[in-house]
Point group: C2
Chain length 108, copies 2
C-alpha cells in the first residue's frame, strides 16, 4: 500500500475504530492488521503521534488500566467532540472518493 495515499486517512480510521469502544495502541495495530488480512499494518511511528494529537485536541481521551498480571495499558476513548469531528471527516472522505472516482472512472 502506497504510504502517500494513507496520509490524512489515519485520524479517520482511528476515530472510526474507537467508535466501537475504547482500545489501546497495540490492540489497534493488531485489529487493523487482522481486519485487512495483513494488507495494512499501521506503524507505531504513525499511530502514537496521531493518537497523541487527537488527544491534544480533545477528540479522544486516555486512561491507564492495570491488567491482571500487573502490567499497564493505555486505553483511548472517543469524546463527543471526536464524534462530531468524525462525522465531518466522513463527509469529507466521501466527497474525496467521489471526486477521484469522477476522474479515474468507477471501480472498473
Amino acid at each position: 500500500m502506497d504510504r502517500e495515499l494513507l496520509k490524512g486517512s489515519t485520524p479517520l480510521l482511528l476515530l472510526s475504530l474507537l467508535c466501537e469502544g475504547p482500545m489501546y495502541g497495540y490492540q489497534i495495530i493488531e485489529t487493523v492488521r487482522h481486519r485487512t488480512g495483513g494488507t495494512y499494518t499501521l506503524k507505531e511511528g504513525a499511530l502514537y503521534p496521531a493518537l497523541h494529537k487527537l488527544e491534544a485536541t480533545e477528540f479522544i481521551s486516555s486512561y491507564w488500566e492495570t491488567q491482571d498480571n500487573g502490567r499497564e495499558r493505555r486505553y483511548y476513548a472517543i469524546q463527543p467532540a471526536g464524534l462530531a469531528f468524525l462525522s465531518a471527516k466522513k463527509k469529507e472522505w466521501n466527497q474525496f472518493v467521489d471526486m477521484v472516482q469522477a476522474f479515474v472512472g468507477p471501480k472498473a
Copy 2:
C-alpha cells in the same frame, strides 16, 4: 478539502486526465476546478512538481506548442509506461478505498 487526503492521489488524477488526451498545466487546473464545481482547485505548487516528476520517470512526455498569438504552451501526453503505471495505481486506489470503507462503514 483536507490537503492531507490528497497526498498520493495527484499522480492518479493527472494520468487519468491525460488518458483523454494531451493537456497543458493551466488547462489541467481549470479542468479540475470546473469538473469538481470548484470543490477542488489543484494548486500550481502541487501540479508542476508532480508533472515534472512524472516526466522524469517517463510516464508522460511534454512538448511545447505555439499558439496563434505567438505564445507557447507546454503540453503533456501520457506514455505507454504511464498507462501501465496508471493501471496499477488504479488497483491500489480501489484497494485503499475498500480498506478505509471497511472501517468507516459504507457511504452512509
